[in-house]
Symmetry: C2
């Protein structure tokens, strides 16, 4: 099984997905085919776009989804299921994802309310998948978006993701490594991401390495003797400038030095001068420690001679916007060939009915100019439809893109987003509108359901 699929992954879902599934089955609805769409209700105020990521792991989940005997026994014996007939558990034992998935390719830009993923499947399959799909895609999308901002701020200098230790558990660190690479980072410190996904992996040394030696210079010598021109030495354990001087006095090759504390602008200038004066013009300066897009932008604007930024906490937790308002909403349901569109009218949480498509318009230079969220069957010859078929009847339509292809798509997508829409702060809102057909569909559903005028309940009941 690919990482991060864990044992018993079928149970890695909210209980209500399973209790509702039993109730669908009991109500004779397990043959109904439902369409759910996963989107972000509203982009966080600290972001002006989202970079879609996580689809590959979402698909791995759909392909791994099943329930073995132990898992079914657990459910059967749980008080929540005491009234559920045995037939449901037989159904569950045979459950595989047999549906269809359309998705926006990873590395594409998406905006509020635009579906990233659309699942059409027997309702139980689509329902159980909700929890996992949302967590996987929203998190990777958060981190890929943050990475894109950090990389943009770095203005051509390299950014490496260093954050597994600060992620929400080690597995989140693995996912963050992937999403950061999608978002434009050079690579990650996460070794498993290198092993499993082929992402370039990077490392320097830690304070513990230096401190394990009685003499700091001896720690540098020992490391540089083994790794030679690959060695990046952490110089701030006792005093950054003295550390660099010691490293230079050794006369050994090294690739660069890492600064992890202090005033990076001042220190990097002093260190660059020391390195250059010693003829080490090729030696790199890395900086790490509480970096984010704002700090990096300032350093870049001031031309701090830093070659690579190692970014951890802020990146892997998307610290200033640590969650997206992800939703996974049923938009239509088909029973015996009859399609019924569905929408939600909860206060300030309206969801639009029907299978949708995102149509993206470009200007004459090929830059993105506007999106239209429309009904999937609409045709806009001048626009690019974003959602593509990915799985049909449970089978992958075509091989998924490689991570490098996804990363290239990110770079190309970001380049086509006008600067006004991707400023770190005070960005203009990228124009997204809904098509007339979609608005009309919403109103047709609204007229059937809500808000019910007072006293209309009886009418609904008798319908």
């Amino acid at each position: 099984m690919p990482v991060p699929i864990v044992p018993h992954v079928g149970l890695l879902t909210d209980l209500y997905e399973l209790t509702m599934s039993a109730a669908y089955w009991q109500a004779g609805k397990s043959g109904e085919v439902a369409t759910f769409e996963l989107s972000v209700r509203s982009i966080p105020a600290q972001r002006s776009f989202l970079l879609a990521a996580g689809l590959e792991q979402a698909i791995e989940y759909l392909q791994a989804l099943r329930f073995n005997g132990d898992e079914i026994d657990f459910l059967r014996k749980h008080p929540s299921f005491e009234s559920v007939p045995a037939g449901f558990f037989e159904y569950l034992a045979g459950l595989r994802f047999s549906g269809t998935a359309w998705a926006v390719p990873e590395g594409s830009l998406v905006f509020s309310e635009e579906p990233l993923l659309r699942i059409t499947a027997p309702i139980v399959e689509a329902q159980i998948a909700e929890t996992y799909l949302m967590a996987m895609m929203a998190y990777q999308t958060s981190v890929a978006t943050k990475a894109a901002r950090v990389v943009e701020a770095a203005g051509g200098r390299g950014v490496v993701e260093f954050g597994t230790r600060r992620a929400h558990g080690p597995v989140a660190g693995f996912l963050a490594a992937r999403a950061s690479y999608v978002g434009g980072c050079l690579g990650t410190s996460n070794t498993l991401a290198g092993f499993e996904l082929g992402i370039p992996i990077y490392g320097t040394t830690a304070h513990s390495w230096t401190m394990s030696f009685e003499d700091e210079a001896e720690s540098f010598r020992s490391f540089a003797e083994l790794y030679g021109s690959q060695a990046v030495l952490l110089v701030d354990t006792y005093d950054s400038i003295e550390g660099v001087k010691k490293a230079l006095r050794l006369g050994l090759p090294f690739r660069g030095v890492r600064l992890d504390s202090g005033n990076f602008l001042d220190l990097s200038r002093q260190v660059r001068k020391l390195l250059d004066d010693a003829g080490r013009t090729e030696a790199l300066i890395l900086a790490s420690g509480d970096l984010n897009e704002y700090v990096i932008r300032t350093l870049a604007e001031e031309s701090a001679p830093i070659d690579i930024f190692g970014v951890g906490t802020d990146l892997v937790t998307s610290r200033d916007a640590p969650a997206l308002s992800g939703i996974y909403k049923i938009v239509e349901i088909e029973r015996n060939g009859v399609v019924r569109h569905t929408a939600k009218f909860s206060e300030s949480k309206v969801s639009y009915p029907g299978k949708k498509q995102v149509f993206r318009y470009c200007d004459a230079e090929g830059n993105y100019s506007q999106d239209v969220i429309g009904v999937a069957s609409e045709v806009y010859p001048q626009a690019e439809p974003l959602l593509e078929p990915v799985i049909k009847e449970g089978i992958l339509v075509r091989p998924l893109p490689t991570l490098v292809e996804i990363r290239d798509r990110s770079t190309a997508s970001l380049a086509r987003l006008p600067e006004a829409y991707r400023r770190l702060e005070n960005s203009d809102a990228y124009p997204v509108k809904k098509s007339a057909a979609l608005e009309a569909l919403l109103e047709s559903v609204r007229s059937r359901y809500a808000p019910l005028p007072a006293g209309a309940g009886e009418a609904a009941k008798s319908r």
Copy 2:
């Protein structure tokens, strides 16, 4: 393997842990025994205490840590290791955690700079474990702390963790379920946490359930017929008040209703009245949707008739403080029986040397009054030492506490923290001081290392 141990868990670490390990081995240091301590440098401004959690999964990792042939082949062939002698990889193939671990029991309160975990082991074992241990313990500690705040704010009403879909990937959701339970939640929506850890699991219904029926009342009837007095009905899909009226008109048993949007204070009062007027005084009202300790406190203060709060995003992401400044610092190293204490003097990031113990003092009523972070060998007969031995020579000292025992410890610990130190805002800082012996040890190390006065580099080099 227990969830969340993933395949290739040995590689779920930063690359530099492994490159440093090779360099330790090459430098003849793999026989040196190092002590590392894991702590939080500084409690976030939004918190006044931390509730320790995650030790069990940290220990599972230490017991699972190893490298198989595929993993070692990957490293051997990676350019980072091209200069590393084959002997290191043989060493790595035989590596198991053979060291000692002391830890603060889960469910204990900890404060800035207090070690949660202390590892003493051959330096490579202790070094490789850094990344995983930090991510696991800091995240669970974050969420357990947040849970404790939310539960406190709820003032006796129940809190259930509903956040897997908004966690940083599904596995983070599983960890959040555990940590939330440690922090005092009644349970979780995460089914796997029920299966794997025995945590009580809860669920209601989703909008999709209601929307899959043409008629909302029919959706209620269908669910209540199957689940009877266990059914909790989500009533806000179209209009919360109308929804409750429909549920009541059915005349079927149900356990309660869930509100997921709108003004919870107004709605809960209206709904309570509807339920009571219908003789359903026992029916519960659940509320969910963008809840946190501040919103819940206001609702509780206004006596909103809400029985259970379902809390998701804010809890599982610890949204207002999504990362802790976790550190894992080498504090001493032993070579051939000689112990050398180590400390770091980076700007504003000083770390204290030596094995430490946290001594907690109580007042006459048994309430916590002050902590002293001291040298581990110190004795304070009036104080309770927090760190206990957990693993010796790789073997568990005694069975770990059950989750219920841990949760009971949380409750008891929180009850002993005076109110002034656990207010949601504007809390007083709990007094933590360092012992004279620890300060003296720091100064003795500082005199050896840092800050080196200008020009002192030569002296250091010649030492």
